[in-house]
């Protein structure tokens, strides 16, 4: 690292950022760590100069910075500096990041068939153009409505779009991810009906199950598993387990394995207990072509929203959508935006039903959520606006076409077969492999292909591979995958 000789390179008016002004120099180590001549290497994004700080301390009437923190007993203070790497300049940081990214193999370098909850859908450039506006990304939560109308209105539009897709009447401004949204839905069901027993299907995303367990064990929710049959929920097992103590049933469709659950029939079984709530976890892209869960008896619809205009980023940020019927709005978790009027009678937006939230209700709040995933929902809103219903249906259709093409092809490779040949699946399916799935993954990676997700890593069958295909894949890429698989000649 280059150290700059004293202040020669500083712009006029700037002086080195030596903090201590006391003649006793309370921070002697500053000299030792040569702050004055390392100015060019440190970017603390602080505007004030040493001279300004001196003026400010004078106005405060303090001799030194140390005087300001006299409330901190001296023996509790850190002696010396934190043991961190020496600071990097922006240019050095850029080099560092370049180095690190070389350690990654991204979906642009390899052909990816990975899904399991995070999907590589096409994102129009206009999405990032809006999302990267500081007007949106450096703004705070829209508590001061008069200077937050931009954020409030897009959330209102987002809520509307989610209601349209899910067939529900009210959506919140987002949860952390699909998993925590499902967990919060179970907690909401407990608030509504007081029944602390919930049924989770074996076909539900295994990581959702883990998060649900974390979120519901504190209030003592008993979680029951409904078995799977032919790649979907076993309706007989559900019927057997539905009793008067069941407060909610979560159904994911398409489920973890990509299969569409027979929601209408399952919903009837769930509602055989009139108090029980049907919670549906849906893929938002699929809802362009599949019936809205709201039209099939769902009481709460949640899901992972990442596929709507958000990059994968190794699985975060994600965002959970959460929608329900109006008569349950007061039991919902999370922020909700409502339309209203301003003092002059003009249309305006504001956070509404805030009496549910932690900053008002504290220990009795419907959830502890504060920060959510707002900016991700802006991406979703812009994405859905650009796509429209036709564009989204086209994304869903092409994903379905290519997925089924892939499934048909892979089933023809010796040793490979579809786990459930008769299931209706959307953009993901499970294939049985003649060798451990991990071997297929390793072999195809050598050919620049991410073959899919090893179900063994989720505690399921390690000879099964979960393969996702979005509209970003081409027939040629799929053919290449199949050809490579044939050449590997496992049988």
């Amino acid at each position: 690292m280059v150290s700059h000789p004293e202040t020669a390179s500083l712009p006029p008016g700037k002086v080195p950022m030596i903090f201590a002004i006391d003649t006793n120099r309370p921070f002697k180590f500053i000299d030792k760590f040569r702050i004055s001549d390392s100015y060019g290497e440190i970017m603390p994004y602080i505007s004030n100069t040493e001279a300004e700080r001196r003026q400010m301390l004078e106005r405060i009437g303090a001799e030194s910075f140390e005087e300001l923190i006299s409330a901190i007993p001296k023996h509790l203070r850190l002696q010396g500096l934190l043991k961190l790497e020496a600071p990097l300049s922006e240019l050095e940081m850029t080099r560092r990041i370049q180095e690190r990214t070389c350690g990654n193999v991204c979906a642009q370098k390899a052909s990816s068939f990975l899904g399991a909850g995070v999907y590589d859908h096409f994102i129009p450039a206009a999405v990032d153009s809006i999302v990267s506006r500081p007007e949106f990304f450096t703004a705070y939560t829209p508590y001061q409505a008069e200077v937050s109308q931009g954020t409030l209105q897009f959330i209102y539009e987002y809520q509307t779009m989610i209601c349209e897709l899910t067939g529900m009447e009210v959506a919140n401004a987002s949860m952390y991810d699909g998993a925590s949204a499902a967990a919060e839905a179970i907690l909401m069901a407990v608030r509504k009906n007081g029944l602390k027993k919930a049924i989770l299907p074996a076909s539900l995303h295994p990581e959702y199950v883990k998060v649900i367990k974390s979120y519901t064990e504190g209030i003592g929710v008993e979680l029951i598993t409904c078995k799977a049959k032919a790649g979907v929920m076993d309706i007989d097992d559900l019927t057997a387990k539905m009793d008067a103590r069941v407060g909610s049933v979560v159904i994911q469709t398409p489920n973890f394995w990509g299969n569409i659950e027979p929601l209408a029939d399952l919903g009837k079984v769930v509602h055989s207990n009139p108090k029980a709530l049907l919670i549906v976890a849906a893929d938002p892209i699929s809802l362009a072509i599949l019936k809205a869960p709201g039209a099939l008896g769902a009481d709460i619809v949640v899901g992972e929203g990442q596929a709507l205009g958000n990059s994968m980023y190794m699985g975060g940020p994600l965002f959970g959508f959460f929608a329900t019927k109006l008569n349950m709005a007061r039991s919902m978790p999370g922020r909700i935006v409502g339309g209203t009027l301003d003092k002059d009678g003009k249309r305006a937006y504001a956070l509404t039903l805030q009496a549910r939230e932690q900053h008002i209700r504290r220990a009795k709040a419907t959830s502890n959520i504060c920060s959510n995933e707002s900016l991700c929902t802006l991406a979703a809103t812009v994405y859905l606006s650009l796509m429209g219903s036709d564009g989204l249906a086209e994304v869903a259709t092409q994903s379905t076409q290519l997925t089924h093409y892939m499934a048909q092809k892979i089933a023809s490779v010796p040793g490979f077969s579809l786990a459930w040949p008769n299931a209706a699946f959307f953009k993901e399916f499970v294939v049985n492999c003649p060798v451990p799935a991990s071997q297929v993954i390793a072999d195809l990676l050598d050919h620049g292909i991410y073959a899919g997700v090893d179900l063994g890593t989720f505690g399921q069958d390690s000879r099964q591979l979960l393969i996702a295909v979005t509209e970003k894949k081409t027939v040629a890429e799929i053919d290449d995958y199949i050809e490579t698989l044939r050449e590997l000649n496992y049988e």
Binding site: Y45, L78, G103, N104, Y140, A355, I369, C370, D390
Partner: protein, 484 residues
Amino acid sequence: MSKTIFEHSVAGRKGVTLPRRELNTEVKDFFPSEYLRETAPRLPHVSELDVMRHYIKLSHRNHFIEKGLYPLGSCTMKYNPKSHEALVRHSCFNNIHPCQPESTLQGSLEILYELQQDLAEISGMHKVTLQPVAGAQGEFTGIKVIAAYHRAKGNHHKTKIIIPDSAHGTNPATCSLVGYDVVELKSDARGRCDMEHLKSIVDDSIAGFMLTNPNTLGLFEDQIEEIADIIHSVDGLIYMDGANLNALLGIVQPGKIGFDVMHFNLHKTFATPHGGGGPGSGPVGVVEKLAPYLPVPTIGHGEDGYFFDYGHAETSIGKVHTFHGNFAVLLRAYIYIKMLGAEGLKRVSENAVVNANYLMVLLKDHYHIQHTEHCMHEFVADSLWQKKEFGVTTLDIAKRLLDKGFHAPTVYFPLIVPEAMMIEPTETESKESLDAFAAAMIEIAQECRDNPELLHEAPLTTPVRRVDDVRAVKFLDVAFSPGE
């Protein structure tokens, strides 16, 4: 009146192009007809320019950091460096999938591993999880860890957590979610924990204590050692709400002064953008005896490189996020820490404290301030004088500030100060920016005398006038319908 995007819709307009279909199959070939939607969802039909104009127009109706000072107490609305934004958008970050083999994620894992180490050093904690995606989820994780510790020790009689009356609302809400009862601790005349009250409520049923330090009055809880002794004497654990960590960087390591577990708000202290409400990130650090309970996986490092470490899965509280937390946010915080280093981070806190004290001194003759000793990174003023003399409330003052181009402080919080205005300028504001804010506040104090009616009318110049949030609850309108 700003139209919704739905009102810009014209049948047939398109905002995107997609590839021509390569296959001639149809959706109905693959799904039973009863699964298929009969009517399309009502999404808008708009061109790309329609979309851009609409959302740019909305963006103009927001306050944001680059526009002006954002003095929200406990929210730490500091400047969000632009280099971070450019670097995180690298295609080898945004195009990576969480289920890729570890060998293809080494760059990202190395970053996360280093960030775990750096946050452990900054906090003085033994081990850090990066999985929680928000401060409140960090709290949830930390309190779950406390619960897991007590379960492992057979401390089944521990059912309560103590929380000061000055605490953020997320603290009690979190305890309820984990299944603990909350015992509220009073503040004393110095704005710190009332030690006599604390002693009177501590018994064997106490599982832990949640403390924000500096607290929400902007004061360092200087009795922390005694508090720790009392809580530890009944095998309770002390949680630090790290919302106010911006005051302590390189000055105090919470893990070294009695705290057992804490969360970080990367979107506050470490300059990642707030995004209009999120995404944030709330990593959690713990002392050594609590490390076995952290969520899995953490990031490990061995001979073969970096890996997802499930080593303590048996004792872990499990998972709080589908995958590995908010990677894109973690990445920004990593860049921030690496670019500042130990010296830069210390200067952040030093300047945050100087800025807050300077502003407090400028305002103290014009607004009542209950605790006038030197503050840390924030302080709480109130409108006691204005309310009593002129009938002007904190809400009025907050709205008038909007007219003058500033965001309002955090208002009516902490709850223990009536008509509170909690002010945190952050280190990134310059002296002239603080002077301008103080001048506006002083001008408002004068307006309260001269023309209180003006204050009730405020704001006058914002995109909309004072918004009727009572109406928003009474006539619930949460989704657009074409008839509107």
